[in-house]
C-alpha cells in the first residue's frame, strides 16, 4: 500500500514540476534572445526584477493586473471544462461591461445594492452575448469558434457605435476619447488598499486593489465548488470528457452545453469590472482589449482548474510587468518582448502536455 501512495505522490510532483520547468526553460530562452539583440542578460534580469518583485508596490501591481486576467481565464476554462471552445470572451466582456456600466449610470440605488446590481448586469450582458452562439451550437451544430469570433467583431463595432452615438457622454469629461456618461458614485468600486495596510502590507494609493478582487475570490470559489462538488459541475466535466459516455449515462447533454456556454459568457462579463468601475468610472470603447484572448492561454496553462487559473493569471500579470520592465530599462525592442511572452506560454503549455502524456503512459504501464 505504501508503494502505491508513493507513486501517486510522484504523479502530483510531476504535475507541479511541469509548469516550473517550462518557466525556467523560457527564462533561459529569454536570456539567449536578450544576448542576441545585444543586451546584457544581467541588466535584463535586473530590469525584470525591478518592475515585478522589487517592492510590495510592484507585487501588489501584479496582483492588481492579474484580476481581470483571472476572470478571463476562469471564463474560458469553464467553457473548456464542458468541451465548448469559447473564443468569444472578448466580445462578451465588451458587451457585458457596457450593460454593467449602463446599470451604473442610469439606475439610482444605494451603494450596497448598486454594486451587486452592476456586477449582475455585467454578467447578464456577457451571458446575453454568448446566448446566440450557444443556441446556434446546441440546435444547429454551428461551431462555436466561428460564431464567437464573429460575435467579437460585432461586439466591438456595436460598442463603438453606441459609445460614439446614442450613449455618448462627451462633454461631461475632459477627455476627447469617446465615452459614456460617468458612472454614479454609488456603483463605483472602492479600494481595499487601506484594509491591506491594516494587515501590514503597505500598498501605495496608485495601485488598484479594489472590490473586484473580492469578486474574483468569491467567483473562483463558487466555480470550483460547482465544478468539483456539485452534480451539475460533474456533468459539465463529463460532457467535456465524452459526449457519448454522458449521453449513455442519461445526462441532458444539450442543456448542459447551453448552460456551460452561457455561464462562461456571464463570467466573461466580469473581466471589465476593475477597469470600468474602479479605474475609469465610465465606459469607453478604449477599455483594455485582448484580455479575452489572454484568457484562452491562461485557461490552457491553468489546466482549466480554478486554482491553476489563479497561478496562470499571476504568471501572466508577472509577464506583462516584466515586459514593461524590459521596455523601460533596456533597449530590447517591444516586439521582442511579445515574442518572449509568447514563447514562455508555449514552453509551459508544451511541457505541461508532455508531462501529462508521460504520466498517462506511466499509468497505463502500471495498469493492473
Amino acid at each position: 500500500m505504501a508503494g502505491i501512495k508513493l507513486r501517486l505522490d510522484r504523479y502530483k510532483l510531476l504535475e507541479i514540476f511541469a509548469p516550473v520547468a517550462g518557466f525556467l526553460a523560457s527564462i533561459v530562452v529569454l536570456l539567449i534572445i536578450v544576448i542576441v539583440v545585444g543586451e546584457s542578460p544581467g541588466e535584463a534580469l535586473t530590469a525584470i526584477y525591478k518592475f515585478s518583485l522589487s517592492s510590495s508596490a510592484k507585487v501588489a501591481t501584479i496582483l492588481s493586473v492579474s484580476i481581470p486576467l483571472f476572470f478571463a481565464g476562469i471564463a474560458v476554462a469553464f467553457a473548456f471544462q464542458s468541451g465548448v471552445f469559447n473564443i468569444g470572451a472578448e466580445g462578451q466582456y465588451y458587451f457585458g461591461g457596457l450593460i454593467g456600466a449602463m446599470a451604473g449610470i442610469y439606475l439610482h440605488l444605494p451603494a450596497f445594492i448598486h454594486i451587486p446590481v452592476v456586477i449582475l448586469f455585467s454578467m447578464l450582458g456577457g451571458a446575453l452575448w454568448a446566448l446566440i452562439p450557444a443556441i446556434l451550437k446546441v440546435t444547429k451544430n454551428v461551431h462555436e469558434v466561428i460564431t464567437t469570433i464573429m460575435f467579437n467583431s460585432i461586439a466591438l463595432a456595436l460598442v463603438n457605435y453606441l459609445v460614439n452615438g446614442p450613449l455618448s457622454g462627451l462633454g461631461q469629461g475632459k477627455s476627447l476619447e469617446p465615452q459614456t456618461a460617468k458612472i454614479q458614485s454609488t456603483a463605483l468600486f472602492g479600494k481595499l488598499n487601506g484594509f491591506f495596510r491594516l494587515l501590514g502590507w503597505n500598498i501605495p494609493d496608485y495601485v488598484y486593489l479594489d472590490y473586484s478582487l473580492i469578486v474574483a475570490v468569491i467567483t473562483g470559489f463558487i466555480v470550483w465548488f460547482v465544478l468539483f462538488r456539485m452534480r451539475y459541475g460533474f456533468e459539465i466535466r463529463a460532457i467535456g470528457t465524452s459526449l457519448d459516455v454522458s449521453r449513455y449515462a442519461g445526462m441532458k447533454v444539450k442543456q448542459l452545453q447551453l448552460a456551460a456556454f452561457i455561464i462562461s459568457g456571464a463570467l466573461s462579463g466580469l473581466i471589465g469590472l476593475q477597469e470600468i468601475f474602479a479605474i475609469r468610472g465610465y465606459y469607453t470603447y478604449g477599455i483594455a482589449s485582448g484580455l479575452g484572448f489572454d484568457g484562452i492561454a491562461i485557461a490552457l496553462i491553468g489546466k482549466n482548474s480554478p486554482l491553476g487559473v489563479v497561478f496562470a493569471a499571476l504568471l501572466f500579470a508577472f509577464l506583462k510587468q516584466a515586459g514593461y520592465g524590459l521596455q523601460f530599462y533596456t533597449s530590447v525592442p517591444n516586439s521582442v518582448i511579445y515574442v518572449i511572452t509568447g514563447l514562455m506560454i508555449l514552453f509551459i503549455v508544451v511541457i505541461n502536455e508532455v508531462v501529462a502524456a508521460y504520466i498517462r503512459t506511466l499509468r497505463k504501464k502500471e495498469a493492473v
Binding site: 508503494g3 502505491i4 507513486r7 501517486l8 462538488r229 456539485m230 452534480r231 451539475y232 460533474f234 456533468e235 466535466r237 463529463a238 470528457t241 465524452s242 457519448d244 459516455v245 449521453r247 449513455y248 449515462a249 442519461g250 445526462m251 441532458k252 498517462r360 506511466l362 499509468r363 497505463k364 504501464k365 502500471e366 495498469a367 493492473v368
Partner: protein, 508 residues
C-alpha cells in the same frame, strides 16, 4: 524440420512494480501459425511490442534466421521483415486503399507519385493471398473486415515474412474470420510465419500449428496444436481448472419485464434496420439474441437503451410504455446497459473509479443531497463495496479509470450496471475482448442477476456464449427475429442455419 524464422531468447522486461516478461523464449518456424495465448496482462502485448521495437528488453536477444539483431524502432522491425496488424487499425480513413498501402513507401519520379508500379505489385499480392480489395476505394467507405485486409496488404507490401496478428478476429464476423484463416493458410504456404494472438480458443485450436501459453510473464508451456484442447489451454492460462460451461441456476421465469412490440427502424439512408421486431423477456430469464453482427442487434439495443428514435412500434417496461422517455428516465425506471462499444460509451477515462462506478446514478440520493451537492463519502463507500464484490483489481477507488487494464475496465462497467439493481439488464457483447478468467466471472455475475429475478437481454456475436447462457434464443437476420427457440429444443447447427438466413423463406 523447417527453418526457424524467428527466435526470441530469454526476453525479460521490467516495468516499475511489474515483471512483464520473465525470461520468455519464443520461436517461429517457416510456414507455421504459432498462437500466443494468455490472460490480459500476462505479457503477450509487451513481448510483441519488444519484437516490434516499441520497447527494448532489459535482457535477452532476438534472432532472425539465426542472426542476432537488435530492433530499436518499428522502422527497423519492418526492415527485418516483421509486420504487425494491430487491434486498432493504423489507416488514414480519407485516403484510398492504394494510398494507405504505399504510404511512407511511395515510389516517385521527379517528385510525382507513381501509382502504376505499386498497383501492379499490390494486385499480385491480392491474388496470391486471397485478399481482394478495391484499390481505389476510400478506406472510410469500406467495412472493418475489408479494412483489415488493407492492413495485411500494407505489411505484405513491405515484404514482411513474420506477421503478427493481435486479436484479429475481434472485429470480424464468423465468416470473415474464416476468410482470414484461408489467407493465413495461403501465406504460410508461401513460407511466411504467423504469430496469432487471440482469446478465442476455438479459433486458436482451428488454425494454430503450435500454441504457447504464457501466464504472469512466463511461458507455461508450448503445445502442438494437435495435442491441445480447449480445457487444457484454459487451465494453463488461468493456472487452475476453469469451468467453460456456466453453472445455470434453476429459476422459474416471473412476470414479463420487457416487451418489444412491432419495432420498425430505418437508418439515415432510409434502409430498414429493424423490421417488425417483437419479443418479450421475463423476470429471471436470459433472452439471447443470436446473429451475425450487423443484422440489427446494435440498433435494437440502442432503441431500448438510448432512446434512439424509432419508426413504429412500442417498448414496454413492466407494462408501461417507455418509448417516449429519455435515457435518464429509462435508467431511473430500471434499465441498465452494458454497452457494446465500451471504449466509446462505457467510462469517463480520466475520472476516478468511484465517479465511474456511480455514473448514471450520480444524480440520485445518496450520491447527491437535495441541494445537488455531491456526497463524496457515499460515492467512495459505494465504490469500495462494489470493487470488493466484483473483484476489480485497482490500487484504490480514487485511481483514474484509464489506469486499469481492459478486462478490469469491463468489470467496472458490469459492476456499475448491476449495482444499479436494474429490472432489465441489456448486455451487449459483455465479454468481447475479455480474457477467460474475467469471462467466467462476468457469466457468473449474469447468472447471479438472473437468480435475483432480473430480466436480461443478451446480445452476443459469440454463439457459444448465447447458447450456454440463454433460456430462450431469438435469431436475428436482416433486422428481423426470424426464429425463436427455447434453449433445450435447438442445436448450434440449427441456429447457425437461421443466422445465415438459410431458413428465412421456409418460415411461413
Amino acid at each position: 524440420m523447417s527453418e526457424t524464422l524467428l527466435e526470441m531468447r530469454k526476453i525479460t522486461k521490467r516495468f516499475p512494480g511489474v515483471l512483464a516478461n520473465d525470461e520468455i523464449s519464443f520461436d517461429l518456424l517457416k510456414g507455421e501459425v504459432h498462437a500466443l495465448v494468455g490472460e490480459n496482462g500476462a505479457g503477450k502485448t509487451t513481448l510483441m511490442k519488444i519484437l516490434y521495437g516499441l520497447y527494448s528488453p532489459d535482457s535477452g536477444s532476438i534472432h532472425i534466421k539465426g542472426e542476432k539483431i537488435s530492433i530499436k524502432n518499428p522502422k527497423e522491425a519492418i526492415n527485418c521483415g516483421i509486420g504487425m496488424v494491430h487491434q486498432h487499425f493504423m489507416l488514414v480513413p480519407p485516403f484510398t486503399v492504394l494510398e494507405n498501402i504505399i504510404i511512407g513507401e511511395e515510389t516517385q519520379r521527379f517528385g510525382i507519385l507513381n501509382e502504376e508500379k505499386p498497383a501492379k505489385k499490390i494486385r499480385d499480392l491480392m491474388e496470391r493471398n486471397g485478399l481482394i480489395v478495391d484499390m481505389y476505394a476510400k478506406v472510410e467507405d469500406i467495412p472493418v473486415g475489408i479494412q483489415q485486409r488493407v492492413e495485411i496488404l500494407k505489411i505484405l507490401y513491405r515484404g514482411a515474412e513474420i506477421l503478427v496478428f493481435d486479436e484479429p478476429t475481434a472485429v470480424l464476423t464468423p465468416q470473415e474470420a474464416e476468410e482470414l484463416f484461408k489467407t493465413f493458410r495461403q501465406m504460410t504456404a508461401q513460407g511466411k510465419g504467423i504469430i496469432f494472438i487471440s482469446h478465442k480458443l476455438d479459433e486458436v485450436l482451428e488454425i494454430a500449428d503450435r500454441i504457447t501459453v504464457i501466464r504472469k510473464g512466463r511461458v507455461v508451456k508450448t503445445l502442438e496444436g494437435k495435442e491441445a484442447s480447449k480445457s487444457l489451454i484454459a487451465e494453463l492460462m488461468v493456472g487452475k481448472p476453469v469451468l467453460l460451461e456456466v453453472e445455470r441456476p434453476d429459476v422459474s421465469p416471473g412476470r414479463v419485464i420487457l416487451e418489444v412490440r412491432n419495432l420498425d427502424l430505418k437508418d439515415y439512408r432510409k434502409v430498414a434496420v429493424l423490421n417488425d421486431v417483437s419479443f418479450s423477456v421475463h423476470a429471471g430469464e436470459i433472452y439471447g439474441i443470436a446473429g451475425v453482427e450487423g443484422n440489427g442487434q446494435t440498433e435494437l439495443v440502442a432503441v431500448i437503451a438510448e432512446a434512439a428514435p424509432m419508426e413504429h412500434g412500442d417498448i414496454l417496461l413492466d407494462g408501461k410504455s417507455v418509448a417516449n422517455w429519455d435515457v435518464r428516465r429509462r435508467r431511473e425506471a430500471g434499465i441498465s446497459h452494458i454497452p457494446e462499444d465500451r471504449h466509446r460509451y462505457g467510462l469517463l477515462l480520466p475520472f476516478s473509479l468511484a465517479e465511474n462506478l456511480t455514473l448514471g446514478m450520480h444524480h440520485r440520493k445518496p450520491f447527491v443531497n437535495r441541494f445537488q451537492i455531491i456526497n463524496r463519502n457515499k460515492i467512495q463507500e459505494h465504490a469500495r463495496r462494489v470493487i470488493s464484490i466484483f473483484d476489480i483489481r485497482t490500487p484504490s477507488e480514487l485511481t483514474p479509470a484509464l489506469a486499469l487494464s481492459g478486462g478490469n475496465q469491463q468489470k467496472v462497467i458490469v459492476a456499475r450496471e448491476l449495482s444499479a439493481e436494474p429490472k432489465l439488464l441489456l448486455a451487449a457483447q459483455p465479454t468481447r475482448g475479455v480474457d477467460i478468467g474475467a469471462t467466467e466471472f462476468i457469466h457468473n455475475q449474469l447468472m447471479e442477476a438472473k437468480k435475483d429475478g432480473r430480466a436480461i437481454l443478451l446480445v452476443s456475436a459469440d454463439l457459444d456464449e448465447v447458447m450456454s447462457l440463454s433460456d430462450r434464443i431469438g435469431v436475428m437476420y436482416k433486422g428481423r427475429i426470424i426464429k425463436e427457440f427455447a434453449r433445450e429444443e435447438t442445436t448450434k447447427e440449427e441456429i447457425g442455419f437461421y443466422m445465415m438466413g438459410e431458413k428465412e423463406h421456409g418460415r411461413n
